[in-house]
Symmetry: none
Amino acid sequence: MNNVVGNNSAEHLKSFMERIERLEEEKKALTTDIGEVYSEAKSAGFDTKIMRKVIALRKMDAAKRQEQEALMEVYMNALGMLADLPLGQAALSKVA
Amino acid sequence: MNNVVGNNSAEHLKSFMERIERLEEEKKALTTDIGEVYSEAKSAGFDTKIMRKVIALRKMDAAKRQEQEALMEVYMNALGMLADLPLGQAALSKVA
Amino acid sequence: MNNVVGNNSAEHLKSFMERIERLEEEKKALTTDIGEVYSEAKSAGFDTKIMRKVIALRKMDAAKRQEQEALMEVYMNALGMLADLPLGQAALSKVA
Amino acid sequence: MNNVVGNNSAEHLKSFMERIERLEEEKKALTTDIGEVYSEAKSAGFDTKIMRKVIALRKMDAAKRQEQEALMEVYMNALGMLADLPLGQAALSKVA
DNA sequence: AACGTTGAAATAGTTC
DNA sequence: GAACTATTTCAACGTT
């Protein structure tokens, strides 16, 4: 048999694909669940449009916080590069 | 007690929002998982870009696929393109 | 001639495509320009990574402001729907 | 005056940032313009999704296209797919 | 039921 | 060449 390696490769690939498709199904189920919660909320009289906007804003807040932290880290690194210079030390003493 | 209804509403709304945000977190986790499988596949030497395309094709049913391909030919003909592609030539022979 | 309509369509399509490709070229030129400004800044001793982060944060601020305004509008609409009820009037009097 | 250098640096940085943000605005405007052309095309009855694909293909050179198509076949073969597509059949006859 | 809007996903490009 | 960013594309949702 010539194609032993090829077949193994094919099997391997197939296995990856199946794992991915399985996970995507689970993900889709969650999407459905989320939609159902919105439906419930709507039935309970809430304005889902507002709900979506509020949730989006909360996500943005979280994202912004992360960005700010990342920026801070970069700053710290930049200062770290200067840490052996007098100005760098003075700056570090402010944030440490 | 004046605000019984109001408070319940607020509680109710809060509960909906929390359920949604919880589900979205789970979804995000799955997205991460999927990304990791793709990373594994990449390490194993597979071309993940192609994998993604194949998975997308598997989702799409055959009818839709054919429709898209046919429409594509029409557009490319309108532009006078396509003559130098093997797959394109085969396709052209069908529509010409 | 049979294909008058078809030809006109083809011409029309071609014209759209050319306009788009023209605009995309201009856009690409701007992308290049931006890259060059970053290069200049780097040569002048600035940390472009930090610059990018700061610019991203400024964009997020702008986006968030817009989101908040949009949310406010939705709120106002929601209140508007209640405007003929006593509670709605009381609420409106708070934001007006 | 102590901070001459610092101030110049700050001014310099500010100027870079403003140039970048200005260019990004222009770029965004072009993106909007492109979107509008697609809208026009859609109103004229064209399928913009296909238009986008065709434009992408025009960007890609022929060699790259063929390579991608060939690899695609290999993967789909590994999964035992592809038998029911007209383009696929033509392609299969090339690699089988 | 098409339309635009918006959020998510994928791809391309860039930097280290 | 690997990671990160930015852009672009795709899909879902509510709306009209």
